[in-house]
Amino acid sequence: MKMKGLSQIKYLLVSALLLGLISCQAKKETETGEVGFPRSKTLYLAGSQWGDPNTFNPLAESWQAAWPVGDRFNLMYEPLITYNSLDGKFEPLLGTLISKGNDSIVVDINPEAKWSDGNPVTSADVKFVFELGRRFKGAATAYAVEFISGINVANVDVNGAKVERLSFMVNKKGRNNPLVILDLLQAIRIVPAHVFEKLLADNNNDFGAVQKLKIDANPVVSGPYNLENYSNEKIVIKRRDDYWGNKSLYAGKMPVPQFIIHPIFKSNDHFAIALQQGGLDASQTFIPRIWMKKKDKVNTWFESSPYFTSGALPLLLINTTKAPLNDKNFRRAMAAAINYADIKELAVSGYSPDMQPGLIMAVGLEGKYFNAEDAKAVGVSYNPENAKKILADAGYKSVFKSDGSLDYMTDKAGNRVPTLSITSPAGWSDWEAMVRLAVKGMRDAGIDIREGFVDAGLYWPALPSGNFDLIMHKPAASVTPSLPWSRFEAIMSSRNWAPVGGDNKMNENQGRYNQPGTKGYNPAVDSLLKLIPTLSDEGKLVQAYRELNKIFMQDQPALPLCYLPEQFYEYSSKNWENWPNEKAPYAPPLLPWVGASTKILWNLKLAK
C-alpha cells in the first residue's frame, strides 16, 4: 500500500533526525575513561543551583554565578575564615582570625595556601578583591569599602614561619561596623589577582567586560575541587589532589568523593523522589513530611520535630505608612490573630520549634539574647480573643456575615477599612501555605485581609519600592556573625529612609518604619543599631539587644511567622554515611560546600 512505504520512510527519517539531534550535544568524554562517573566515587547533591549555569566568574554578582562559585560556596574559591553556625566559632581557611576589635580586625594568611597554578595566596589577592570598590563602581564587592577603610599588611614571624598579617581597618567615617566586616571575611571569596589583573589589562580596564567572562575553562582556584564539566542538567566538579589544605588543615587526608555532581532539577518533587531512590545523596530543598522518607534511609539533623536547626525568620513586613497599618495596636492585633501552631504543623511540616514573640530567635546561637520575661510581658502570642480585644479597644469594629465569615471592618472614625493584601510570590509552596494560614487566622479575628499572590516579576520590585500592604520577606537568611543585629537592621533601620512613591527605593526597612524627622520618631532604635556592632562586652550586648527587642515587640513593624533553617539539610545514607547530625555534631547542618561544613567531605564513608 502506498501508505506503508511512506510510513517506513517517515520512520527512518525520524530515527535519523533523533540520532543526529542528540549527537549534536556531544562533548568530551569523562576523564575516567569509563562511561559515567562511578557511583562509589561520586557524591550527588542538589538544591543550590536553580536554573541554567551561566557563569563561573567569581567576580560576577553572587546570585548570577553558578554553583559552586556563587553565594558562600567555598569548594573552588575560598574565603579567609568560616563561621561555624553551630557553636559560633570562627574556623581558619585561607586565613586565621587573630583578633577583632572596634579599630581593626586582624587575620593572618595561611603561608601554605596556594593557587592551583602553584602561586601562593598573598595579601595582593586579598586586597584585590576587597578593594575592587575603590577602582570600579559596579563590582559585586564594591560595598566592602564602606566598612573597610584600608588593609594594612605586616610581615610577622609565627612559629618560625613568615606570615602576612592583615589588619582590616574599620571605616569609622563610613559605617563604623566591625560586625559586618566579620560577615565579609567569611563571605567574600579570594580570587587570584594575577589572573584577573591580566584579564583587566587585556580588556582595557573595562570591568564590565571582565565580569561577563565565563571563567569556566580550567580556572585557577585555591579550593579542594575544580570545575570538570557542566550543562543545563548538571554541574560536575572534580577533586584536586594537590589541594593545599589537605596537608595544612586535614593532616594529609583527601576529601573522600572524587566527583561531586549537582543535578539541576526543574521541579520540587524531583528532589524528594531522587533522594528516596538513592539517586541523590543530600539536598537543600524544602521537602514536606520528611519523616515519611525515613524508611528509604533519608535523614535530617534531628530525629524528630523540628528536624532542622533554626537559622532564618520568614516574616510579614508591614507598610507602616498606610492606614490602618500605621496604628501599632492594629499591628499587634494582627500578630495575636495568627495561629503559629498551625503554620508550624501545616505549612512547614513541623520543621520549626515553637515560635516566641520578638525578632530574636529563642533557640540556637541567638538564644542567649532572648529574654523570656519580656516576651511574656510585652510580646504578643497567638490569642484570637486578645486580638479582638485589642482591635475593639483601639476603636475598630468588624462586621460579620450571617455565615460567620468577615464582611468588612470600620475604623475609629467609622470609615470602612480597605481590604488589605499580603504580597507573596506564587509558587513557593511553603510561603503560600504560611500566607494562607495567616490570612485565615486574621479574618477569623475580624481583620479584613486577603492573599495577594503575584508572580516573581511583580514581587521583587514591590519590596524595595514599598508598594505593598504586607509582604513576605526573609531578611538576613544566612547564619552569619552579625546576627541578630543584621535582622534588626534589615527591618528597623531608618538609614536612607525614603517615602513610598515615585522612584524611591529602600533596600532595608522596606516597611518604612520609624520615619526620621517626625513626632513619632524613636531615636533609640537607630542609636542602638549603631551601638551594638561596637560592643564587645557580653553583658552590655545582652542589655542592648533586650532594649531593641522590646521596642520591636511594642511597635511590631513586622510579623514573624516561624523559625526555618538557614538551609534545609536532608541526606540519604544509601550510598554515603557518617553525615553529621545531632548525635554526631562534628559540623553544622549545611550541605558540604558552605561555611564550616566543608569538612564533611573528609569524613564521609561509603555505606556498606
Binding site: D269, A272, P288, L346, A426, A433, G452, L458
Partner: protein, 266 residues
C-alpha cells in the same frame, strides 16, 4: 452513546450545582495533613487539612465556569469571523485569514501572564476564561470558514442575492441556520478545550490566584510532593473528574456528528 455522554455531563453539572447542598462545603481545616480517605471525608484531606470533597466541588464549579466562558467567547468569535470570511472570499477572506494566523502564533499563556501582571487583583477565573476564549477561537474560525465557503456556491444563496438581500441578511437567514448544527458541535469542543486549557494553565502555575479549580488542585498536589509520597487521593480524583467531563463532551460531539450525518450512524 449520546445518552451516556449527556448523562455524564449533566451528572457533573449536577454535582457542581447540587453538591454544596448535600455535602456542606467548608474550607476549614478539619484534620491532619493528607489524612487518607475515611468516613465522612471519603476523599481524604489535603496538605492544609482541608476536605477534598469541598475542594473538588468548588474546583468543579470553577472549571465548568471557565470552560463555558471560554467556549462561548471562542465560538462566537470564531463563527463570526469564519462565516464572514468564508462567504465574502477575496481579499476580505485573506485579511481575516491573516488575523487568524496572528492569533494562532501567540501562545495564550504569554498573553495571560502579561495581562494579569497589569491587573492589581491578579489572575481571576474570569480573566483566564476571557483570555483562553480570545486565543482559542482560531480553529473554529477555520472550520466554519470552510463550511461557509462551501455553502456560498449553493443555489438558494444565489437566489437570495438576486432578490437583493444584503450580506448580513444572507448570512443570518440563509447560511447560519445551515451551519447551526455544526456551530453547536464546535461549541461543545470549545468548552472541552477550555476546561483542558484552564487545567493546563493552572498546572504550570499560572492559574487563578484566589480560587480553587481542578487544575490548581493538581498543581498543589504536585508541588507538595504528593506523587512521591503515594498520596493518590491528592491527584487521582481531580484527574478523573477532568477526564470524565472531557470524555462526556467528546461523546456528545461524536453522537451529534452521527445525528447530522446519517452515514456515520451505520
Amino acid at each position: 452513546m449520546f445518552v451516556i455522554g449527556i448523562a455524564l455531563f449533566f451528572g457533573t453539572i449536577l454535582i457542581a450545582l447540587v453538591g454544596p447542598v448535600i455535602f456542606t462545603i467548608t474550607m476549614e481545616r478539619v484534620g491532619p495533613q493528607y489524612a487518607p480517605p475515611g468516613g465522612r471525608y471519603f476523599l481524604g484531606l489535603n496538605d492544609l487539612g482541608q476536605d477534598y470533597i469541598s475542594l473538588l466541588i468548588r474546583g468543579l464549579q470553577s472549571s465548568l465556569y471557565v470552560g463555558f466562558l471560554a467556549g462561548i467567547i471562542a465560538t462566537t468569535l470564531g463563527t463570526l469571523i469564519g462565516i464572514y470570511g468564508g462567504f465574502k472570499g477575496g481579499w476580505v477572506d485573506d485579511f481575516l485569514n491573516m488575523v487568524t494566523n496572528l492569533f494562532i502564533v501567540i501562545p495564550s499563556f504569554v498573553i495571560l501572564i502579561l495581562i494579569s501582571s497589569s491587573f492589581k487583583e491578579g489572575r481571576s477565573l474570569t480573566l483566564i476564561g476571557i483570555i483562553i476564549g480570545m486565543t482559542a477561537w482560531t480553529w473554529s474560525a477555520r472550520s466554519v470558514r470552510a463550511q461557509s465557503s462551501a455553502l456560498k456556491s449553493k443555489d438558494h444563496i444565489a437566489l437570495a442575492k438576486m432578490n437583493g438581500a444584503n450580506t448580513l441578511k444572507v448570512l443570518l437567514v440563509h447560511i447560519l441556520p445551515y451551519l447551526f448544527s455544526y456551530v453547536f458541535m464546535v461549541f461543545i469542543l470549545q468548552v472541552a478545550s477550555g476546561i483542558l486549557s484552564e487545567a493546563a494553565i493552572s498546572m504550570i502555575g499560572l492559574g487563578p490566584l484566589d480560587t480553587v479549580s481542578l487544575g490548581t488542585i493538581l498543581n498543589q498536589a504536585k508541588n507538595t510532593g504528593a506523587l512521591g509520597d503515594g498520596v493518590w487521593w491528592a491527584f487521582i480524583p481531580a484527574s478523573v473528574i477532568i477526564t470524565v467531563i472531557v470524555f462526556a463532551l467528546y461523546l456528545i460531539n461524536t453522537s451529534m456528528e452521527g445525528v447530522f450525518n446519517p452515514r456515520l450512524r451505520k
